[in-house]
């Protein structure tokens, strides 16, 4: 009869856990977050020997203590969810440290299967492992050599999983094969006896394991209600710990870890043979260049620059294509459909086109950006360079209270804040992830640029570039100050987590691994943010459609709509910053949808009409289809052009060099007529209030897509806090600039 099994994959980072997971589950996987944590949860299904098997990929960890979210998740799952089998994935080339966590897993009494992964690499390095002896030394668990990347050993692994799952019914005994030494063993025995007398504890945990955890001073175990209220048990623990310290001169925790490693060293000595002279590996040779004293920093900067170029520029033609297809053919078809059912020219048509389609569109345009970012991150992580990037940059980032790995998300933020939020996943500690995501929203993204450009050219003419540059600098400055502030307040009780980081061997990434990485994360973005973005753009549409000073629904001028009225009510707040006119406030309100919308709204309220006009005559279907194909072709050619142009753009950073950029489709003559808007702005703003307005646009609530991404990753509280903080800071800085400018006579 077919049965349902649940198995878990556990092991150190970089041991090839994901590759084994992908090989077992194929495309049948789902990515989410562990409840209440920012740690990714991957789950998939596999069919093994006619049985349905749910495979849970536990986060990569080095130990089973409760000190980090990853470790606590792994441990709780293994101890409380009673999986039918736990596959411990280890890197066969680095057995000693990998086995440390395996031993802890076996100690919980869980049915463990050991996957000796990357056995091919180990053999190539001349490492020989006696599997039988290793299995015996680990209490008889199955040991299966695998090379998941090539698919070698996967059938044997499946068989071992099935065998363990079907023959180990609730085997929860904790094997006592590590001898922790006379002092600790005596204490374990005392505590174990006490635990066996307590049904609540005895049934929830393997007694020997619980005794060891108590002696290790495990915070989670000591906080259990059944332990906290048990004076007799706590006194016995105190007494035992005191006795150990007196006899052995060390605290129990240190002794236990030392003995565990001693046990493993001994086991490895008996079962693994290495060549007597260790060859310098290819990985070490690559590393001597990439983290070289002189080349390390330039190579790092070049890599980051390339990632930035890819996210910001290479994605642009594809982004324009998606935008064009949505605002062109797709809009046409929806309109045609509505006209067919007699709703043409009504407010429903306007809601569909200007509310819903444009809302969905503003989310879909992020997809090319995210696909390219996730590709870049997958390459950096899977090759092992990401750890080196952190190694090279840590000293610099540590100055502002961040980790070396924070550099990439912050840099990506200059392209777009949404991928920056997701890029923080590469950081190990939750505090670092939250702080980096928070700060990345102050990096001036590409969507804010059109605002600076239009104001710059309206007020500063040839010196417009200075305004743009100043905005980038203000963003960085605010981020640094915010970093200092948050470290001393919100994160005061969370000391900077240790840097301590493994530098894994360089490896060639697999196509399948990269593809799954991109696909899972992009799908999760669409799934997670659609509702928020849609809701926001519909709300703005409704506000603009409701007339309050005469006019009719949907055709009312913005100034007479509820939107205009609301802006008038809010506008006095901005008077001290020099832009108290309702039009500016309205632009800021709708700019929450996306910052470039600030320009669109300003243009609507100063020179144009409310909603974009819907064409009367629609082009035939054939023409639209041809248009999609033609523009897709063009977008691909332009993507190629942008990739090629990374070279001249990089070379041109050097002073005095001018390398021409490639133009595959001839020069584009892009000159939108914005003079009408510029003169309207000159009538409504002074140069000083224009600067204050731009600073506000830079700093206030990032767009709704970023807010949605943040909520998805960090939950509503952190997101509201960020939104509130950024509003307040934006106001304070804008007011300071305006009032300070007035005092200096710059008004």
């Amino acid at each position: 009869m077919a049965k349902h099994y649940t198995i878990a994959l556990a092991g150190n980072p970089n041991a090839g856990k994901s590759t084994i997971f992908n090989a077992l589950t194929g495309a049948h996987q789902h990515v989410g977050n562990w409840p209440g944590k920012t740690v990714e949860k991957k789950e998939g299904t596999a069919h093994i020997g006619g049985h349905d098997v749910v495979v849970v990929d536990l986060p990569g960890a080095y130990s089973l203590t409760a000190y980090s979210a990853e470790e606590a998740i792994s441990r709780d799952f293994i101890v409380h969810q009673h999986p039918d089998a736990v596959v411990a994935v280890v890197d066969a080339t680095n057995l000693e440290r990998n086995l440390y966590m395996v031993v802890q897993m076996i100690e919980t009494g869980a049915p463990v299967v050991l996957a000796l992964n990357m056995i091919d690499l180990a053999e190539a390095q001349g490492i020989r492992i006696d599997r039988k002896a290793l299995s015996t030394g680990l209490g008889g668990i199955p040991v299966v050599p695998t090379a998941a990347r090539q698919g070698t050993g996967m059938d044997a692994l499946r068989r071992a999983i099935l065998q363990v799952s079907s023959t180990a019914p609730n085997h929860r005994g904790s094997p006592a094969w590590i001898d922790y030494g006379p002092e600790v063993e005596a204490a374990i025995k005392t505590l174990e006896t006490l635990i066996r007398q307590r049904p609540a504890l005895r049934e929830a945990y393997p007694p020997r394991w619980l005794a060891i955890k108590l002696l290790e001073g495990d915070a989670d175990i000591l906080a259990l209600p059944d332990v906290v209220q048990d004076q007799a048990l706590l006194e016995a623990l105190d007494e035992a710990a005191g006795r150990i310290k007196a006899a052995a001169g060390e605290d129990p925790e240190t002794l236990i870890v030392d003995r565990r490693y001693a046990f493993i060293s001994d086991l490895v000595r008996r079962t693994v043979s290495r060549p007597s002279v260790e060859a310098i590996t290819l990985s070490e040779r690559i590393d001597s260049v990439l983290t070289n004293r002189w080349l390390g920093v330039p190579i790092f900067l070049l890599m980051m620059w390339t990632v930035f170029q890819m996210v910001a520029n290479v994605s642009a033609p594809l982004l324009d294509w998606v935008d064009g297809v949505i605002s062109g053919p797709i809009t046409h078809w929806v309109v045609a459909l509505l006209r067919l059912v007699g709703l043409g020219g009504t407010w429903v048509e306007s809601l569909m086109v200007n509310g819903i389609i444009s809302g969905v569109g503003s989310m879909l345009v992020f997809i090319p950006v995210l696909v390219i970012l996730f590709l870049a991150i997958a390459l950096l992580e899977d090759t092992g360079y990401m750890a080196r990037a952190a190694f090279v940059m840590d000293r610099f980032m540590h100055l502002v209270g961040l980790h070396g790995k924070s550099f990439l998300p912050l840099l990506v933020g200059f392209g777009c804040n949404v991928p920056a939020i997701y890029a923080t996943r590469t950081l190990e500690s939750e505090a670092d992830r939250r702080l980096t995501a928070f700060l990345s929203t102050f990096m001036s993204c590409g969507a804010r640029l059109p605002v600076y450009v239009i104001f710059g050219s309206a007020f500063f003419g040839a010196a417009a570039g200075n305004l743009v540059f100043a905005m980038y600098m203000v963003g960085i400055g605010v981020a640094i100050l915010t970093g200092f502030l948050l470290r001393r307040t919100v994160f005061r009780n969370k000391p900077t987590p240790p840097f301590m980081m493994e530098l894994p061997p360089y490896r060639l990434p697999t196509l399948k691994g990269i593809w799954l990485h991109i696909w899972e994360r992009t799908a999760k973005f669409v799934e997670g943010v659609t509702t928020t973005i849609l809701l926001m753009s519909v709300i703005i549409w409704v506000l603009l459609a409701i007339p309050v000073r005469g006019g009719t629904f949907d055709t009312v001028p913005p100034g007479d709509s509820l939107f205009g009225e609301l802006s008038r009510v809010l506008s006095p707040i901005f008077a001290p910053a020099g832009f108290g006119q309702w039009q500016a406030t309205g632009a800021l309100v709708s700019g929450v949808v996306a910052k470039e919308v600030v320009v669109t709204t300003l243009s609507q309220v100063y020179v144009g009409t409310a909603h974009a006009p819907i064409p009367e005559a629609l082009p035939p279907l054939r023409e639209d289809l041809a248009d999609i194909v033609r523009s897709a072709g063009e977008a691909l050619i332009l993507t190629g052009q942008e990739i090629v142009n990374i070279v001249p753009r990089t070379v041109n950073i050097l002073p005095g060099v001018q390398m021409p950029e490639a133009h595959f489709l001839g020069e584009e003559g892009e000159s939108e007529d914005s003079t009408a808007l510029e003169s309207a702005l000159r009538r409504s703003f002074t140069p000083l209030s224009a600067v204050a307005f731009n600073v506000f646009v830079l700093l206030y609530i990032p767009c709704v897509s970023t807010v949605a991404a943040m909520r998805q990753e960090f939950g509503p509280r952190w997101t509201f806090f960020q939104a509130g903080y950024s509003l307040l800071v934006a106001w304070i800085v804008a007011v300071t600039i305006y009032q300070g400018g007035l005092l200096l006579g710059l008004g």
Binding site: S63, R97, D258, T291, F391, D394
Partner: protein, 82 residues
């Protein structure tokens, strides 16, 4: 503990590239200390300094057959013999 005995200690951050040492004692406290021990920095383990990062900090070490990087401030709490 007097200053005289303190200066007699040699700590992990004092190793030069290519130098090896045996770990005598792991200092620090709580989660940080436990994490170091979990990563294999335990009494009696042999450790080799590989190199410092281009900006001088952190430092790359080789321990138990793998590469680990630590900030100087973190390496300073580990007493070694070399």
């Amino acid at each position: 503990m007097t200053t005289a005995t303190l200066t007699a200690f040699r700590t992990l951050d004092q190793l030069l590239p290519g130098q090896r040492a045996i770990i005598q004692k792991v200092g620090g406290r709580g989660a940080f200390r436990r994490r170091m021990m979990d990563m294999g920095l335990v009494t009696g383990a042999e450790i080799e300094m590989v190199k410092a990062a281009p900006l001088g900090d952190p430092i790359e070490y080789k321990i138990k057959g793998y590469h680990l990087s630590l900030r100087r401030a973190e390496a300073r709490v580990i007493v070694v013999d070399f």
